[in-house]
Every structure is written in C-alpha cells, then in structure tokens.
C-alpha cells in the first residue's frame, strides 16, 4: 500500500504492508514545508519504494488524504494519487485527513509509555488559514462523530461543551489553544500507518473506492462583476 497526504503543511508519503491481521510500516518520508508539496511528493514516493525495496507495480492500492486542507497543496496529493491509480490500474481510496490524525492521537493515548489512561473523545483541528480551523470530533474509539467543518476558533470553542471532547490534536488546536482551552497532544500530521488504517476495512474488502474528491468545505472566492454597461438597453 502507498499512502500520501498533502492536506497539512507536511508532505507525507509512506509504504505500508497491510495484511488481514497486521499493518507494518516499510518506509516513510515526511517533510514539513507548506510550499513544497508539488516539488517533493513524487520524489518522496520514489524514495519510500526504494527504501522498502518495492516497485510501483507491486503496489496493490493507494490511500490518499482527501483533506480538508488549504486548496493548492491539497490538490497535489489527489492529483498525484489519481494519476498513479490510472497509470498502475489500481484503486485509490480517499480518507478524510482528520480521521487519520484521530487514529494517530488514539495510538498515542493507548501507548502505555504516554501515561494516559486509554482513549478519550477527541477534537481534531487543523489550520484552515484566514483565522479559521477545519475541525472534526471523535469518540474514545477514534470514530468520527461530527465534522469535518470549517469555523472560527471562537465559534468552535462555544460548541466544545456539547461535543464532550477532552483533548485536541492538530496544528489548528495548537495555534488556537488559548481560545479552545483544551490540552493538545503532539500530533500535527497524519502518519502513513494511520492513513492506511483508516482505509483498511475498505481495502481488505476490495470495496469500490469513493470518488477521489477533495473536502474543500469552502466555496471558491469569486465575485460577479457589478455595474455592467447597459448599452443595448438604451
């Protein structure tokens, strides 16, 4: 399995071996550079395959983070994954990026070394720029119960009591920690293992993938011109 994600400032790629009862990371390349998704993603994929000692032809499926995320970078992952799927004739499974982040957070919470007492309801909030966050809420098992949405941190903060979340992850949660008032776990980018985990049931069932559509959550900025001339209606 190849996993890619470009919905956060990280350029993420990894090769993961997925078996019915196990999941093993073979190689990953993650570079945090919000401006280099277009340059680095394909070289990262090549480097992962080389390190894993595998070829493109050996890939069985591709998993791609579908956002939400700042649009320009987000499209790099989807365009790349879509073309790989077409070139290799393999299915491409989109995964909402916060779902993978939630699984990463859950793994951290369940790690005995973390001193945590197990899973808790969780908020995932990534940076949507323009003083907004993309957010989704998860239960103690890492299942999404609300979202994803795009909202101002203060408006999200007002909803937190009803969401019942105790912790948060993501760069948005970090950036607006004072507004949200939740303890923040250190998970900023989705890992290839979590991306594949989020899609594993579908992949193992050889389900037909959902359409490879990004989660934009915002309309394009565009205004219709006003004050046109009325020459012909004189």
């Amino acid at each position: 399995m190849l996993a890619v994600d470009t919905a956060t400032p990280a350029v993420t790629a990894g090769v993961v071996e997925l078996l019915p009862d196990s999941l093993t990371l073979l190689a990953q390349r993650v570079t945090v550079n919000a401006k280099a998704h277009g340059e680095l993603l394909t070289p990262h994929i090549q480097a992962c395959l080389a390190e894993a000692g595998r070829t493109f032809a050996e890939l069985d499926a591709i998993v791609c983070g579908s956002g939400p995320g700042p649009f320009t970078g987000l499209r790099v992952g989807l365009a790349t994954a879509g073309a790989l799927g077409q070139a290799l004739n393999r299915p491409v499974y989109p995964v909402p990026t916060p779902d993978a982040l939630a699984l990463d957070a859950l793994a951290l919470m369940l790690d005995p070394a973390s001193g945590s007492s197990g899973g808790h309801p969780l908020l995932v909030a990534t940076d949507a720029r323009r003083r907004e966050v993309y957010w989704a809420a998860y239960d103690a098992l890492g299942r999404r119960v609300d979202g994803p949405h795009v909202e101002r941190p203060a408006d999200l903060a007002a909803k937190l009591p009803s969401l019942g979340v105790h912790q948060a992850v993501g760069e948005g949660a970090q950036l607006y920690a004072d507004v949200l008032g939740l303890p923040v776990l250190d998970v900023k980018h989705p890992s290839p293992v979590s991306l594949v985990t989020a899609a594993s049931a579908e992949v193992l069932a050889q389900a037909r993938p959902a359409p490879l559509t990004p989660l934009y959550l915002r309309r394009p900025d565009a205004v219709e011109p006003v004050g046109r001339k009325r020459v012909t209606r004189a």
Binding site: G38, E39, T42, R75, G82, L88, P220, D221, A222
Partner: protein, 351 residues
C-alpha cells in the same frame, strides 16, 4: 529508430488538455489524440477566469480527459515514450494539478518527463499541421492571456527570443472587456467577431496603441483602445443616440488587427524573416487572419495559422513541443521540478 509516442498534459489556465503525438524516425509529427475539457462556462458569469474554479475543474477533469485521449488513440500508457507537461507560464494552482499528475505518470511508468513552456507550445502546435519550421521565423501569439512577438531560430528546442509583448492587457483580454461594455457574453472574441461582420470597420477611428514614431516598435498596448471604446460609447449614450454596436465592434476589431499585423510585418521586414506563425485563441479571429493574409501576401511573407482547434490551449501542442525536445535529444526534467507561473518565453524547458 522507431516511432516514439509523446504524451502532453496542459493545465495552465481554464482548459485541461491531454494530447498524444507520434514522433517518426525522420522527426515528423502525427497527432493521435487531442482531448480538452474546458471550464470556460463556469467562469462566464465572473467575466474572467477565476483561478480556484479553474484549479478545481482541472483536478476533476484530469483522469477522464486522459482516459478519452488513450481510448481515442488506441494507445496504452505503457507504449508512451515520454511525457511533456506545461510547467509555466500560467495560474499557479492550475499548473500544479497538471504537473503533479504528470510527475506521477512519469514515475509510475518509468518514463522521462519534460516540463515545458506553454508559449513555445502554442508555436509547436503549428508544426502538427504545417510541418517543421524554417530555420528562422516570427511567431505572433495572441490569446486571452498573452500577446507576444517571438523570433524562433533553429527550431523550438534551441532559441526563442521575445522581441515584443503587450505592456498592459493581452489582446484577448481587450476583447473580453469590450464585450462586457457592449453587453456581449464572455469570452468576448467570438461574439465581437460575429457582430463585427455586419459593421463597418472604418466607421470609428479608434486609436492604435504604441504606433507613434518614438514608441517601442514591437510592443503592444490595448488598454488605451479599450478606454477609448468606453468613452465613445458613453458619449453616444449621453447624447441620447443609439449606439451602433456593429460599427463599434468592427472598428475595435479593425484597430486590434491593424496593430497586431502591422507590427508583426514590420518585425518580419526589419529582421529579414519570411515566415510568420500566428497562434493562440485570438488567431481564430476572422479579421486578424484576413488582414494578416492580405499583408503577408503583399510583403512576400509566408503566413502559417493552425486550425482554431490547435490555436486554443490544448495538450496536443504540449505533446508536440515535447516531441521537438525529444527529437533534439534534450535531457529530461527532474521529478522535483517546480511550476513557474511567470516563466519567461526564452526558457523552453525547465531543468
């Protein structure tokens, strides 16, 4: 050496294009597929291309357009020899979709990638229809995004020099703005051309920008012309007169065609070049091609204008340019290639 198949991907503005060209052992080019998906209708109500709308449309259209090009040509991706993609100039977000896809195709198929210049692609389109270029020729590129006069020496893979360009609006942009003024739909070229056929191009003497004795000889300016049309129409309305729409359209079109062709032919004369290529979306304009044909004939200059389909943005022109580079033995571009929205025309390939 046998035939080589070159795949071309274009996504610099509002057309998603995939073209496939066969490069023969003798350097001949044959067009096998030219599939285009356009988002022009989504931009119409905004009166111009909205970058985010264009980028979204490219992502949606890339796979189906590729599928159609392969199906139409009967080519398998594994038969492709190399892949060419527009790396600039163009809209940043739009370029990134095509380049990301092209990199993935190149990596997955293990084929060389050529990140190429969109403007040089417009000239290469003509070689699909009219064969190789002479050792020296001039190209006039006119579209919604560009207006340039280029000198091409020893083929597209070796040297392209910009000798003139617009200092403000592109020719197609002027058409769009005047169309809005006359309540005609976007894009403005076709409706103005149609309306102009019923009008008199000599009715109104609109100004010819940058044609004074001290002005730059080969540069263009269309902003003053657009303003002048606006003023003329306003004066007419203020006087309570009916605006002679067809005459305005024809006279505007006459001014554009006059300036473009007179400057192009002046450059042919000054630089002793006997072939002129006109390409880009505005090349399909009937008055521009008509006047160019007249003036080229009397100046003894051979005029080459590709068919309208090849003039507008498409993947075939990018495949054709890729084929020129492959034929010239150019080195492929690296897979960490960057898109360059402001790529100058003299850089034919990004390395």
């Amino acid at each position: 050496m046998t035939d080589r198949l070159i795949l071309g991907i274009e996504s610099s503005c509002d057309e998603t294009g995939v073209g496939i060209v066969r490069l023969g052992p003798d350097g001949s080019l044959e067009l096998l597929a030219d599939e285009v998906a356009s988002s022009v209708e989504e931009h119409a109500r905004f009166g111009g291309v909205v970058p985010e709308v264009a980028s979204r449309a490219h992502l949606e259209a890339m796979a189906p357009t590729m599928r159609r090009a392969l199906d139409k040509s009967g080519v398998e991706l594994s038969d492709v020899h190399s892949i060419a993609v527009t790396a600039g100039p163009g809209l940043a977000g739009a370029l990134l979709v095509g380049v990301s896809a092209a990199k993935a195709f190149a990596a997955a198929l293990g084929k060389p990638l050529y990140g190429v210049n969109h403007l040089a692609g417009h000239v290469a389109a003509d070689t699909l229809q009219h064969g190789p270029l002479p050792s020296r020729c001039l190209a006039l590129l006119v579209s919604g995004g560009h207006s340039q006069l280029l000198l091409i020496e020893n083929g597209l893979a070796s040297s392209i020099t910009e000798i003139g360009s617009t200092v403000d609006d592109a020719a197609g942009e002027a058409y769009d703005k005047v169309a809005r003024l006359l309540d005609l739909p976007y894009p403005g070229g076709p409706p103005i051309d149609k309306l102009a056929r019923t009008g008199n191009g000599c009715a109104i003497a609109f100004p010819r920008g940058l044609t004074g004795p001290r002005d730059s000889k080969y540069d263009f300016s269309f902003s003053g012309l657009k303003t002048s049309v606006a003023r003329w129409v306003e004066r007419c309305e203020a006087a309570g007169e009916e605006v002679p729409l067809a005459d305005v359209a024809a006279s505007f079109q006459e001014a554009v065609a006059d300036v473009l062709t007179s400057k192009a032919l002046r450059a042919c004369r000054d630089l002793r070049v006997d072939t002129l290529v006109i390409s880009g979306g505005v090349a399909a304009n009937s008055r521009l091609s008509g006047l160019a044909a007249e003036r080229c004939a009397s100046a003894g200059v051979e005029l080459r204008v590709p068919s309208p389909r090849l003039c507008t943005d498409n993947g075939a022109m990018i495949a054709a340019l890729g084929a020129h580079l492959v034929a010239a033995g150019a080195k492929p571009s690296p897979l960490d290639l960057s898109t360059t929205p402001g790529l100058p025309v003299n850089v034919v390939q990004i390395l």
